[in-house]
Amino acid sequence: MIRFLTHRVGFGAGVLLVLSAFVFFLFFVAPGDPARMIAGDKATESQLAQIRKNLGVDRPIVVQYGVFMQKALSGDLGFSYRNQQPVAPIILRRIPVTLSLVLGGAVLWLSIGVPIGIMSARHVGSLRDRLGQAFILVGLSFPTFVLGMMSLYLLYFMPKQAGFTLFPAGGYKALASNPALWAWHLALPWTTLAMTMAAIYARLTRGQMLDVMGEDYIRTARAKGLTERRVVWKHGMRAALTPLVTQLGADIALLLGGVIVIEQVYGLQGVGALAVQAVANQDRPIIIGVVLLGGLFIVIANIVVDLLYVLLDPRVR
């Protein structure tokens, strides 16, 4: 167990190291001069040289990378080119927004997608299955921004026209200050995120349940005289859970790295929005920070999923 953990953590650290090197060198070969961006068009050549020296970008790239990694290990990811603020706090400030969006959304998409998938699988070929399949198709087909725009139009704009505010158009209120306000502001982003993701999970659940419900131990459960509800939820879902958990871990990690479209549509100042701004501004330290954060989430999620897998399946213990 301990050996497994140290092994996985070591491997994760290796992944992050490779990732950081890759991103660092990628931006080095990319066109664009940070000094020019900071100083503006009117800066003289000597001013630019001074800025380059201050930034350290006049040194050989390997040295730059070495310096970067040395600082990064102590939590210092450098300064934003844009506003000279340290990168780490800028990113950290954004995390609660994205975390709220993703975790809340996950609860919603699971509670929509999983039951729809189970319903479909239990009544294959019936009208209920077709409705489930239609939901999956619609959810997967609609681009997120269209779903976002539609929700805004139907649930914000139209009520507003009628003279009341059903849901706000966007913005973020901290959970700690007012949980109700927090949820109210996030309701539309959650729904939008959940629509697409619920479709994916409904499809996954349907497939898993179709497999599982054909297993011999399901027949045994019925032969024991269990109620159908118990057969499906206790025996069926328990077996279908493992792949769902694996997928959930990967999805949450991926989304925590930035839910770009939804944050843009609803004006949420999360990690995704930060990434968009950073790319638009050629703000390399921020981009590198966001990429590393995404990588960190994925590495952590993988370790957590592997541990959960062991907890869920007694056969691999």
């Binding site: 011999d216 131990y217 045994t220 032969a223 005289g225 269990l226 025996h235 328990r238």
Partner: protein, 630 residues
């Protein structure tokens, strides 16, 4: 549904002693291709406390019948009546059926590993039966489960309560299933192929346990199996099913001693145990009919050797004989109970030791295994095996699962390297081959696998599968290859016109022929058959065994034949090696091994495998009643 006075009357006047009585039971399963008529007009009645056997090959409808009765086939169209404890089960509400299942009627299935939920402890799974039918505290449930586990012979039941199914052996798992089925002392237990997935020595224990339990608990048992030897030794009454029809029905003793229906007689004739070793088996020709169509006459007529002209045009009448045996057949006197006769004399024992094809010299194999949390440890699968296979010989390798017989086969085929020791095929050391030589050796050693469904790629055409060896070794192309493949297909009894079909379009026996044709393609020095007939029905199994023998005679093939079935091994093999725990414990000619086993383990194996009673002389019974089909 409340029974009507008319049906109650019928039940009482019929056989009021029956615990379960089916009348005109019909099960149709709607599929995309049409309705599969899995069970047609089947009637039977089971005496309390008896063991009722249902025999039949795959597709005969024996499992569908019981599952339909139990309400486990929600999509099936079920007709007829099934009376149990004063109620007609057909038409009961789902909730009423649920209460019967597990409570009044227990079920035991074929594969105890897949039938137990892998993620719950066995104790929790058994306790669930109690919680589903009674209001009971967890502690009380636990006590009762532990008590029951002890009764079915699980050692240290209190500790094993919290173990998961994968921590038990196959036989122990089936004991768990039996405990689960019997914990509420149901009036009836349906055991569907309960021993098929188990080793032969364990099979005997499980059957004995079932027998003891039914006597102790007064439970009636329905035993569904394809194993006629098993039924003949334990069943009181039997019903023989074929393609959804009940062809024969009567006391087990009478049916097996002198089958009245040609199908039952054919089944018994197909069983290698009924023959002297080395003789040609007399299998039932052809294969079972499609269940989609309704035949005009007798469903067995196309395969029947005694069929009369009217058999294929008119539905057969029900004949009842003086000993109570009933047969659905046009023959008035019943099937001819001719003993299987030897078509060819047993092959003479080879005088001079033949030139060796494969020499296995002190082969050991060790795996490193370890649990997720625990340390690694070494698992010795083979502990020094010595064996020589001579040209033209058939060597049998028997033993229970985990004894290392399949591992040994893979080492001989060069698919797995041995940890130590040496394997030489045609004088060349399999461990010292380079990549090119290894490919060369692939021509000389070929394998035929057990599962004819899993071992053929479902997306490739049969012609391509059989032609692969020619392609991979660059030996034949285009028309030449096609010609060779067609020739091979003909050789193994497949229609060469089916060249372009996919494996799914063939039956199990035909698929095994495809596998044999592929193995034959390059004229190998050694063919390793790993349980080649275990997945096949007895009539099909006999056809494939005959084919293997015939090919050996004509082509001078050498076989290494792996099987858990002693009667099969005895029938086809010259010499038999008995394996136990990674060692060969006894090696003898087939005749001598059976006549005079030396090792204790060989004796255990022999005594555990059931043999069929001998055929009796014909003419013991007379026809007493004929009921023409309506």
């Amino acid at each position: 549904m409340v029974p009507t006075s008319a049906s109650l009357f019928r039940r009482q006047t019929g056989s009021d002693l029956a615990i379960l009585e089916a009348k005109g039971l019909t099960v149709g399963i709607p599929t995309e291709d049409g309705t599969v008529h899995a069970v047609r007009n089947v009637s039977f009645s089971i005496k309390p406390g008896s063991l009722f056997g249902i025999a039949g090959e795959s597709g005969s409808g024996k499992s569908v019948l019981t599952q339909a009765v139990m309400g486990l086939l929600p999509n099936a169209d079920i007709g007829g009546e099934v009376w149990f404890e004063g109620r007609n089960l057909i038409g009961l509400s789902q909730e009423e059926m649920r209460r019967l299942r597990g409570g009044r009627i227990g079920m035991i299935f074929q594969d105890p590993l897949s039938s137990l939920h892998p993620f719950y402890t066995i104790g929790a799974q058994i306790a669930e039966v109690l919680h589903a039918h009674e209001t009971i505290s967890p502690a009380e449930a636990r006590a009762r489960v532990v008590d029951m586990l002890g009764k079915v012979g699980i050692p240290a039941p209190a500790e094993r309560f919290d173990d998961y199914p994968h921590q038990f052996s196959g036989g122990m798992r089936q004991r768990v299933m039996i405990a689960m089925a019997l914990i509420l002392k149901p009036a009836l237990v349906i055991a569907d192929e309960p021993t098929t997935a188990l080793d032969v020595t364990v099979q005997a224990q499980i059957v004995a346990l079932l027998d003891t339990m039914r006597r102790d608990f007064g439970t009636t048992v329905i035993l569904i199996t394809h194993d006629l030897g098993l039924l003949s030794s334990v069943a009181d009454d039997v019903m023989v099913m074929y393609a959804g029809h009940r062809l024969e029905y009567g006391r087990a003793e009478d049916v097996f001693r002198a089958p009245a229906h040609p199908y039952t007689a054919g089944l018994l004739r197909s069983t290698p145990a009924s023959y002297r070793p080395g003789t040609e088996l007399a299998p039932i020709g052809g294969r079972p009919p499609s269940l989609l169509a309704t035949p005009a006459g007798c469903v067995f007529a196309p395969r029947c050797t005694e069929a009369l002209p009217r058999c294929s045009s008119e539905p057969p009448p029900l004949r009842r004989y003086s000993d109570g045996v009933e047969a659905l057949c046009w023959l008035e006197e019943g099937a001819s109970t001719v003993r299987p006769t030897a078509k060819t004399a047993t092959i003479a024992v080879k005088a001079a030791p033949p030139e060796p094809v494969a020499e296995i010299d002190d082969v050991c194999l060790t795996y490193q295994v370890g649990s997720f949390f625990g340390p690694k440890r070494a698992l010795n699968v083979l502990k020094g095996v010595n064996l020589t296979v001579g040209r033209g010989e058939t060597i049998g390798l028997v033993g229970e699962s985990g004894c290392g017989k399949s591992t040994l086969a893979r080492i001989v085929a060069g698919l797995v390297p041995a940890t130590s020791g040496r394997v030489r095929v045609l004088g060349r050391d399999m461990g010292a081959l380079d990549a090119r030589q290894w490919r060369e050796m692939r021509r000389e050693v070929q394998l035929v696998f057990q599962d004819p469904f899993g071992s053929l790629n479902p997306r490739r055409r049969v012609g391509a599968i059989i032609g692969d060896p020619f392609r991979l070794h660059g030996l034949a192309k285009g028309d030449e290859r096609r010609e060779k493949v067609r020739h091979l297909m003909e050789r193994v009894g497949l229609n060469p016109e089916h060249y372009n079909r996919f494996p799914a379009e063939f039956s199990g026996g035909q698929r095994q022929r495809i596998g044999i044709a592929r193995a034959l393609a390059l004229n190998p020095a050694l063919i390793i058959c790993d349980e080649p007939v275990s997945a096949l029905d007895v009539s099909i199994q006999a056809q494939v065994l005959n084919l293997l023998r015939e090919l050996q005679r004509d082509l001078g093939l050498t076989y290494l034949f792996i099987s858990h079935d002693l009667s099969v091994v005895r029938h086809v093999c010259d010499r038999i090696a008995v394996m136990q725990g990674g060692r060969i414990v006894e090696m003898e000619t087939a005749e001598r091994l059976f006549a005079d086993p030396q090792h204790d383990y060989t004796r255990t194996l022999l005594s555990a495998s059931k043999t069929l009673p001998a055929f009796a002389e014909a003419g013991r019974r007379s026809l007493v009643e004929t009921r023409v089909a309506s």
